[in-house]
């Protein structure tokens, strides 16, 4: 069985370490917050200007002055701090955030990322994604391995406008887990019942198989 959204988020949570400051993108990456291991301190940054994001509020706690980068109402924690957008991106660009988990439309085998624009069709903007991939120490992508029409999203070269060049360190998809470094792409883990052959068939990027492939 290929991994579900929740299972991809749970797998991404294994990349968290105690004491990490982390920025989670909108969509599936947000779910990673549900799988922070007990006893581990992970501080979530929201790029609109908050460190220490708490859970969603109860109905009577909703505050229009307190939202996350997805514009959702949230709550603060005893450790929370607020700051301006320029301080927030100082943290991001300055390399103070350990890990960012984001979504993608396309990833290339060189670690290029495209996730902000489809020319002539979708005009939404990059928000903070270009800053995050340029400044955060480790960038993990969670995405469906293939587009709805079945075409591969993990490619030799991205054909959509890029968010960043050579910025992706890891791809977690419904098929498995791939690392990207100077040596290229390596498949390190497969989702249950997915074979290497199927992974290859569904991927345009070329990749090596890790010696100790986790199945």
């Amino acid at each position: 069985m290929a991994w579900t959204r929740e299972e991809m988020a749970r797998r991404a949570a294994k990349e968290l370490r105690d004491g990490f400051y982390v920025n989670l993108g909108i969509g599936i990456p947000t779910l990673v917050a549900n799988y922070i291991p007990d006893g581990m301190t992970v501080t979530l940054q929201s790029e609109n200007g908050m460190l220490g994001m708490g859970p969603f509020p109860y109905e009577d706690e909703v505050d229009p002055d307190l939202i996350n980068a997805g514009k959702q109402t949230i709550t603060e924690l005893p450790s929370t701090s607020y700051f301006s957008s320029s301080d927030s991106f100082g943290m991001i660009r300055g390399g103070h955030i350990a890990l960012s988990i984001l979504g993608a439309m396309q990833v290339s085998e060189k670690g290029d990322l495209a996730n902000w624009m489809i020319p002539g069709k979708m005009v939404k903007g990059m928000g903070g994604a270009m800053d995050l991939v340029a400044g955060v120490k480790k960038v993990v992508i969670i995405m469906d391995h293939n587009a709805r029409d079945g075409s591969p999203k993990f490619l030799k070269h991205c054909d959509l406008p890029l968010t960043g060049v050579g910025v992706v360190d890891m791809v977690i998809s419904d098929v498995g887990v791939f690392t990207i470094d100077e040596t290229g792409v390596t498949l390190i883990e497969l989702a249950p019942h997915i074979t290497v052959e199927e992974a290859k068939k569904r991927t345009e990027a070329s990749f090596k198989i890790a010696k100790e492939l986790h199945k």
Partner: protein
């Protein structure tokens, strides 16, 4: 010179002109200067270049100025919540300059601090770096981005005093402090306008030197875009 004005319209009187550049604070609809945006619409000024992280939603926030076709160009990082914006842009009725959010924040901070340009790693190798000067520092390539200033900055704070000292609240701070520094004229609207001496000087986020005019907000809606809650007992 007295900084407090009776309302948003009188605070804008005599300083707006067609073709002007404005900055408007806020992230989504959080911390936007609602009264001042409505007054800018009512002023009838046209061909505005608007610098704002987002473009409001259909018919609210800066979306009001899109409906009336008063905006010629937007400089923003994300406009996905506004269908009218997307329609006008795809129909080439509106100019749009996308900036990465951190680059936008830093351009405004730099503009207000008298820094004409700076280098950043953000966007190197992408569309937004095309045609811009590049330079290597310590083995890494950076792209030059220019500082931004505006004819008028419209900002929203929680509390302000009659000297223009401002305190923001929670994530409603966002772009407001930098924009306050980057306006040739900055107008602040505040939920609570107090006498000088009532704010603790150690708690002030924006010193009054950056604020030329200040008004008390009236009838704020403070709309919420994504009301997400949990249920007790879960």
């Amino acid at each position: 010179m007295k900084k407090p004005y009776a309302d948003a319209s009188s605070a804008l009187e005599g300083i707006t002109f067609d073709g002007m550049t404005i900055m408007a604070g806020g992230f989504g609809l959080c911390g936007i200067p609602e009264n001042l945006i409505a007054a800018l619409r009512d002023s009838g000024v046209r061909n505005i270049t608007a610098i704002s992280n987002n473009a409001g939603v259909d018919g609210f926030g800066l979306g009001m100025l899109l409906n009336t076709r008063q905006i010629k160009k937007m400089i923003s990082s994300y406009v996905g919540e506004n269908k009218e914006f997307e329609r006008q842009y795809l129909a080439k009725e509106l100019e749009l300059e996308f900036n990465p959010q951190g680059t936008l924040a830093e351009r405004i901070r730099a503009g207000g601090a008298g820094i004409p340009a700076f280098y950043t790693k953000t966007g190197v190798g992408t569309l937004i770096a095309e045609g811009k000067e590049h330079k290597d520092f310590d083995g890494e390539t950076y792209v030059m981005e220019r500082g931004l200033v505006a004819d008028i900055s419209l900002v929203k704070a929680w509390k302000g005093d009659k000297e223009g000292n401002l305190i923001f609240r929670k994530t409603a701070r966002n772009f407001n402090p930098m924009m306050a520094t980057a306006g040739k004229i900055t107008i602040a609207e505040v939920e609570e306008l107090v006498e000088v001496g009532e704010l603790d000087p150690d708690q002030i986020h924006t010193p009054g030197i950056f604020v030329q005019r200040i008004i008390q907000s009236k009838n704020l809606e403070k709309r919420i875009e994504q009301r997400t809650t949990r249920t007790r007992g879960e």
